[in-house]
């Protein structure tokens, strides 16, 4: 909770057991964020229930149900959300993603992908 009191610097007395209990309850049910459907925060500062990634993602997936809008045609998406620049896309090399492996574990694809030249040598500068 970012809300702080101006007298925060003054010493606070020890909380009684009851106050401590309230403290925990408050943190568990903090109303700092008020979205109506949020139940799966991973922010450990506000929950006593540590959730695994699998649990969090399960809830996030459910929470997003009905909010995946697809399948938008790629060109329509580009035109609507990613406006073209005045600089036209330079000429592409042939098969720029050829070096990205098709088979095997997915981790073998990361480096080749980030190293892909989408723009041919001759079209740069």
């Amino acid at each position: 909770m970012a809300c702080t009191h101006q007298d925060e610097t003054t010493a606070q007395p020890e909380l009684t057991p009851a106050a401590n209990a309230l403290h925990v309850t408050q943190r568990e049910t903090s109303s700092e964020s008020t979205p109506t459907k949020k139940k799966c925060g991973l922010d450990l500062a506000y929950t006593s229930a540590v959730k695994t990634f699998e649990e969090v993602r399960h809830h996030l997936g459910k929470e997003m149900n009905g909010r995946w809008l697809g399948a938008m045609p790629v060109n329509a998406f580009l035109d609507q959300y990613v406006p073209a620049t005045d600089e036209p896309l330079p000429e592409l090399p042939e098969n720029p993603f050829e070096s990205v492996p098709r088979d095997g574990v997915e981790s073998t694809r990361y480096d080749p992908f980030v190293s892909t030249r989408l723009i041919s040598e001759t079209s740069v500068l």
Binding site: Q6, P35, K38, F53, R67, L69, G70, M72, P96, L118
Partner: protein, 394 residues
């Protein structure tokens, strides 16, 4: 040549303003998150190497790979006729209702939520590659737009076009909320702000927040709001204490609140009254940053919170903040709700429009759980009930 140098050298010319980094093996420890995207794309800074790990607070774009082919998280419609399409909508087939599909979509939402939580964003983009198929995604607090899958090997131009265009977008076009900027305060002011907010760690960056309704009168300064690693849909409210620093001419009195506040010209007038409003002097104030719900019914307007305060004040409601200013943040309206009638939609959307909204008031409270005696707790609850009673029944 080491691998990292090779990577950076090889992508020269691909995206002039951005750099892609393989971050799959390095989670976002900088922000105390264990999350890691497969590829993170950062702004290119002359003479400075990009982060060698996932850093959700700095990434412009992320890419998620799945070895298996498409169809787990999203399934494009296969039917060609209207009847078949309607049947697919009925079955919700675009997002297969399987545990694996739900986990996959939840993972994407997890990353997007982390990025929005650690940055100031109105929307963001990402790329998902499953097997040979790629999709582009656009996230905002209403919903997420997902493109049809395309084979990025056989149609590399689509991928290149997206990256080329994205590279050339302005910060605002990439989804950044440009009403918030790094503070860049003079050292003595920076120290004063940190002291007032109780920020001891000098590595915590401060930001300058524009406050709608007080534009031109000054700025609010404070840290990034607390991280809330959760889905980014809905109101996404974040609250924090900030320090209000008025513009020089407001402090010196050469400009009055009456002259500078366009929204409430009748609220305060005259030199003497200027000192009574919290924004006429440097002080700690409370800020609420949220996405307010907008009705999608024609002619129905959902009243913003500061307007509700005005009504409550008009009726003499006790125990509520006296001075409240708020307003909509520029370019902060969600857009995905406009797609509900799109012919290509194969889901039944349940989406609502939202508007990014910021509100400040002069009272900085403290958490109720920090009460020091029972009487204090009971009094606080009593005062709150008084306010509720008057607002509801008078």
């Amino acid at each position: 040549m080491t691998t990292s140098v090779l990577k950076i050298a090889a992508i020269e010319g691909w995206m002039p303003h951005l750099q892609a980094v393989n971050t799959n093996s390095k989670g976002d420890t900088l922000n105390n998150l264990k999350l890691k995207t497969d590829i993170s794309i950062y702004n290119r800074v002359e003479g400075v190497a990009p982060p060698d790990r996932t850093d959700f607070s700095r990434m412009e774009l992320w890419v998620e790979f799945k070895a298996k082919n498409d169809g787990l998280s999203f399934q494009d419609p296969r039917g060609g006729t209207e009847k078949e399409r309607l049947l697919e909508i009925e079955n919700g087939s675009f997002t297969p209702d399987t545990a694996e599909g739900n986990q996959g979509r939840g993972q994407l939402a997890h990353y997007a939520g982390a990025q929005h939580s650690l940055q100031f964003r109105h929307f963001s983009f990402s790329i998902v590659i499953q097997g040979d198929n790629a999709r582009f995604l656009r996230w905002d607090p209403s919903a997420t737009v997902v493109t049809a899958a395309f084979n990025y090997r056989t149609h590399p131009r689509m991928m290149a076009e997206f990256l080329w265009r994205f590279d050339h977008l302005s910060a605002r076009e990439r989804g950044h909320d440009v009403s918030i900027q790094p503070a860049n305060l003079a050292p003595e002011v920076d120290a004063r702000v940190r002291e007032q907010l109780g920020i001891e760690d000098k590595n915590i960056p401060l930001y300058k927040y524009g406050v709608p309704g007080l534009i031109g009168m000054g700025h609010a300064y404070g840290p990034r709001p607390p991280t809330q690693n959760r889905s980014l849909v809905s109101r996404c409210t974040r609250n924090l204490s900030v320090v209000w620093i008025p513009a020089e001419d407001v402090i010196s009195g050469t400009r009055t609140f009456h002259e500078t506040c366009e929204r409430d010209p009748d609220q305060q007038t005259g030199q003497e009254e200027v000192k009574k409003v919290p924004w006429s002097e440097e002080r700690t104030i409370y800020m609420k940053d949220t996405w307010r719900f907008l009705s999608d019914s024609p002619g129905v307007e959902v009243m913003p919170e500061h307007k509700i305060y005005e009504i409550l004040h008009h009726h003499g409601t006790p125990n509520i903040p006296e001075h409240v200013v708020g307003g909509d943040v520029d370019c902060g309206r969600t857009q995905t709700q406009e797609l509900v009638d799109a012919p290509w939609l194969c889901v039944r959307p349940r989406i609502s429009p939202y508007q990014h909204y910021r509100l400040v008031h002069g009272i900085v409270g403290r958490p109720l759980f920090k009460f020091t005696c029972t009487k204090q707790l009971v009094t606080a609850v009593f005062h709150a009930l008084q306010g509720v009673f008057v607002s509801r029944y008078t």
